[in-house]
Amino acid sequence: MMREVAVIGVGLSRFGERWNAGLKELMAEAGVAAIEDANVKSSDVEMLFGGTMASGRFMGQEHIAALMSDELGFRNIPAVRIENACASGGSALRLGYMSVASGIHDIVVVGGVEKMTDVTSAEAGTALGGAGDQEWELFQGITFPGLYAMMAKRHMHEYGTTEEQLASVSVKNHDNAYKNKYAQFHKKITVQEVLDSKMVSDPLKLFDCSPISDGAAALVLAPLEVARKYNDTPIKILASEQASDTLRLAARESLTSIKATSIAAQKAYKHAKVSAKDISIAEVHDCFTIAEIMAMEDLGFYDKGKAAKAVENGETRLNAGISINTSGGLKGCGHPVGATGVKQAVEVVWQLRGEAGERQVKDARIGLTHNVGGSGATAVVHIFGRAN
């Protein structure tokens, strides 16, 4: 019989270009914060799941989970690294959830980390290119901005989405990041500044793209039945679902929709016994501005082709209809790829506990996280709610 699972502790490192922090410092910053928040002893932790995409490419360091466990003082516990491209963090959370739900472990730590700024941006781009089909996409010089640019261009062709609407995603996320002390950017921007930024791969400009970042995030999970022993405000995981698809964008059924997202979302809503309308806050995977628009549609918040207008109208700002990417998202808060999926859960937990400070959404009751790997070959969706 499956047990219900709660998040009892969360922690983040500051995101950004952290020149004086290596992998160990970043992991310790987030991990210690999560353990203190959960009020558990290091010796209570039974297993660690660590998400990272390319620590070998970025830092020459593999075997990250055992390293993370040792740095956090968890002696000799089993520790496993999870690599699922940019969805490594969300995938690690799902495995942590499964290990507690199954009854195998009680207290489990889920971590995510990426240290990306020690290499040149061309090297980082090549490392990230491995999230697509290396033999056919990267080999032909088709970069990640290039793949999402082709989705954006097709979305514009089919639904009349405009470059201004794409830009408004970035403006909103920078506004939210401005209120988040952990965020990489604390600078509000305008639609015109996005449009005037350097063209990367048309129609996507520099300010349509999430940055290269360093950062880590951590969560402590426990069975719901004992969660209150550690924490007064446990947050329940109502659903944890995941789906996959082809790595090659060209082989997908559609360029304007990420099928893995819709499959994972529909399963998650069913399991949580909620609908898209019940979600008041969502952290979605805005690696590029077009990705947030497609996510809003694929998650069922808006009909296909209607999301871009909704962002432009301000319907997804803080305390509007549905508050999307309250943390600042990947664009404003930063995107250390392995940490992102875990960070999304940290933000939703803060919001549901009412601890999000200046960016708190009123009466946030049910929150969703959406973490994508590559151009859509993996999607992970989690739904969270207050324990009662």
Partner: protein, 131 residues
């Protein structure tokens, strides 16, 4: 990344001649070639399939920030092309002065892709030319 030369030679037939595969059981066509048919799974019966190379642009973009291997080629146009036989294929679109749009008809051509700076090797590949 794998050594570019290894990745080229290993897939020389599809990269030079646009040879993919077709399932003898259900008729599905694939490019690049696959070993397992998506429809038939373990019942797959795959054989080589030569594609004619004509198709139309589903989407496209210009890459202005390239990976290191293409630093001397940028900016260049890439796209997803729907081949007349069915599958969608990614590739370079040759800038021959004609305007590229969604729906533009193209024809495959065999062209220089890039020069490997270290070894001075010239890599060739299929590309698509607007007609």
């Amino acid at each position: 990344m794998e050594k570019p030369s290894a990745g080229l030679w290993r897939k020389i037939k599809p990269r030079y001649n646009l040879v993919g595969s077709q399932c003898k059981k259900c008729g599905s066509t694939y490019f690049p070639p696959r070993i397992v048919c998506k429809n038939c799974g373990r019942e797959s019966r795959m054989e080589d399939r030569q594609f004619a190379g004509d198709g139309e642009v589903v989407s496209f973009t210009t890459i202005r920030v390239p990976p290191d291997t293409f630093k001397d080629e940028a900016p260049y146009i890439v796209g997803i092309i729907k081949l007349s036989e069915g599958p969608n294929v990614e590739g370079h679109i040759i800038d021959n002065g004609r305007k590229v749009e969604v729906g533009t008809k193209v024809k495959a051509a065999f062209r220089r892709m890039y020069v490997d700076g270290e070894e001075g090797l010239i890599y060739y590949h299929y590309k698509f030319e607007p007609i």
